[in-house]
């Protein structure tokens, strides 16, 4: 529901000043017609008091019922009706007050048309102002709702993107644990711990969570350790990140999908042992992460390189920074390189 203009202090002040001017104006006008101060003041006071009451009534009515654009003629009829009522009431009251003043009675009767049209115009002005006010209010509320909805869906999307977890990874890890339980129970326990810590990390709920590079790399290590158990000697990883970069910030869970993509791409595109490397650096005001993996240019379709993992990273960075140039990929000879830039605040 829109707020009534009457609940806004500034509007109340302006409203009061307007009416003081109108009352003063009417008094001076009546004086100019030769009426005494007393009569002029009482006449203006009664007439304008009724008019102010009518105005407030209409503003409050509009608060509950704002006519559609095509029904504005309703407003005009209300104005006419209320003006007639105001004039009639004014007439009754004033004629009773000045019951003995015949001169004033004649003056009132002769001025009734000009009074009516003045009252109608003033009433119309205030109605117009409040209609504009309410419409503007409604529009800005709609705008706000739209923004809220957009924000909500953006947050939901970000949450979903962060939570994307390959069921393949989960079930294969469980399968490895299953095998370790029989032969190397200590290692099985360790892997259960790693997998639990990793999963806990993926379901952390804080929105727009930013973490330091150090934290993110620790989390990434959990993932890499699990993958190394799964793939044994076929997978080696190299992580180069200077301690000076430890405190740089990035969105949580951003690096894991990139590594996952590189591992999948690397491991399934060759039967040899592979090394995946991650290098962090700072360029200008960006944290730059470079991930490389080998691939077979003979058999790879370029599409494979930008799998779901990278798309979700790109989408996340777009939602956070409104930039599409933060993820870059390059295939050179048999090395595929993924570079992402994270602007620092």
């Amino acid at each position: 529901m829109a707020t009534s203009p009457l609940s806004v202090t500034r509007f109340r002040i302006i409203f009061s000043i307007c009416w003081l001017i109108i009352i003063a104006d009417q008094i001076f006008l009546l004086r100019w017609f030769g009426l005494s101060w007393k009569i002029a003041i009482i006449d203006s006071a009664v007439n304008d008091a009724l008019l102010i009451a009518a105005c407030l009534l209409i503003i409050m009515m509009l608060h509950y019922y704002l006519p559609q654009k095509e029904k504005y003629f309703h407003l005009v009829s209300w104005c006419i009706l209320i003006t007639v009522l105001v004039i009639l009431l004014t007439k009754v009251i004033l004629k009773n007050i000045f019951i003995d003043d015949a001169e004033y009675q004649i003056f009132f009767s002769r001025s009734i048309w000009i009074r009516s049209s003045m009252d109608f115009l003033m009433l119309g002005c205030f109605v117009l102002i409040s209609v504009i006010w309410y419409n503007w209010q409604e529009q800005s509320e709609q705008e706000e709702r739209k923004q809220d909805a957009e924000k909500l869906s953006k947050e939901a999307e970000l949450f979903k993107l962060r939570q994307q977890l390959q069921p393949h990874f989960l079930f294969n890890s469980l399968n490895s644990i299953n095998a370790l339980i029989g032969s190397r129970p200590e290692e099985a326990r360790k892997m259960v711990q790693q997998l639990s810590d990793f999963l806990r990390g993926t379901i952390k709920k804080e929105e727009h969570q930013w973490v330091t590079l150090k934290e993110e790399l620790q989390y990434l290590q959990l993932y890499l350790d699990i993958e190394k158990v799964r793939f044994g000697h076929r997978l080696s990883t190299v992580i180069e990140a200077d301690e000076a970069l430890d405190e740089l910030k990035l969105p949580a869970l951003l690096l894991q999908p990139i590594m996952e993509n590189a591992i999948k791409f690397g491991l399934y595109d060759t039967i040899d042992e592979i090394t995946i490397s991650l290098k962090a650096s700072k360029e200008e005001n960006n944290l730059v992460i470079t991930v490389t993996n080998p691939f077979d240019p003979e058999t790879s379709t370029p599409k494979q390189g930008t799998g779901f993992g990278l798309q979700s990273v790109q989408r996340r960075l777009y939602l956070l920074f409104a930039r599409t140039d933060l993820v870059n990929t390059e295939a050179k000879e048999n090395i595929f390189t993924t570079t992402i830039k994270i602007p620092q605040a």
Partner: protein, 248 residues
């Protein structure tokens, strides 16, 4: 009499758990364990196993593509962690599969089922149908895996110039010449993306990207000239199809 089993999986621990389970069956002998499809092919050729336990997602060629390269594939028990399409296909063809992680009981059940079906020929037919089914899904519909002598060739579909029928085989023409694949033309017509490949003739399928122009040839017929210079016949029924899709 004992039966020979080959285990093919790219994850070492996944292999070891199957070995562990198999040890409960005195009549099953593990001939070899393989870590990818290439090793699997060699081992199958060498040992002629009675049963293979096969992972699907593996480096270079997956389990399905490996099976496709074997003329008379042995009985298979598939083991997979998660593969929606494959699981649908297994269900559709009543093929037993193991979902990782699986326990000893589940494994024994699969072995029991295999023993029951061992002497019927239904299994091989089911496997063939399964392979035809999954050929329509990625990555199988993105590339063709061909055995070229002792080498395995993986051809991304966009590298194909055109296909030509040759008796029971199909010649797959690429920049390196042609390779033979034991499939039918209608199989390829189904598998390949119809916006990329058009059957221009009973015996030909053309990669549209390769066409430079189409010339008339004798009466009523046409011929498509490819970038490589090759001339591919276009039949009376093929010509309107080509014209429509090329927007001529």
């Amino acid at each position: 009499m004992s039966s020979k089993v080959i285990i093919i999986d790219d994850e070492p621990l996944a292999r070891s758990i199957v070995i562990e389970y198999i040890q409960h069956f005195p009549d099953l002998v593990v001939s070899q364990v393989c870590s990818n499809g290439f090793e699997g092919l060699k081992a199958i050729q060498q040992y002629k196993p009675d049963l293979i336990i096969l992972d699907i997602q593996m480096p270079k060629i997956n389990g399905f593509e490996m099976l496709e390269l074997i003329e008379n594939p042995p009985a298979v028990i598939f083991a997979t962690a998660f593969d929606e399409y494959a699981i649908k296909a297994f269900e559709a063809h009543a093929i037993d599969y193991l979902l990782k992680p699986f326990n000893q009981d589940r494994f024994e059940k699969a072995i029991k089922k295999w023993r029951e079906q061992k002497n019927s020929s239904a299994g091989e037919k089911q496997t063939k149908q399964l392979l035809d089914d999954v050929a329509l899904t990625a990555p199988q519909n993105q590339r063709i895996v061909i055995k070229d002598g002792s080498k395995i060739k993986i051809i991304p579909v966009q590298d194909i110039f055109y296909l030509e029928a040759a008796d029971d085989f199909v010649k797959v023409f690429t920049k390196e010449g042609y390779f033979l694949k034991n499939k039918t033309m209608s199989h390829f017509e189904q598998v390949l993306d119809p916006s990329q490949f058009v059957r221009s003739h009973r015996s030909y399928i053309i990669n549209l990207q390769q066409i430079t122009r189409i010339d008339p040839y004798e009466k009523d017929n046409h011929v498509a000239i490819l970038r490589s210079g090759a001339k591919v016949p276009v039949s009376r029924t093929g010509y309107p199809k080509l014209k429509a899709i090329l927007g001529l």
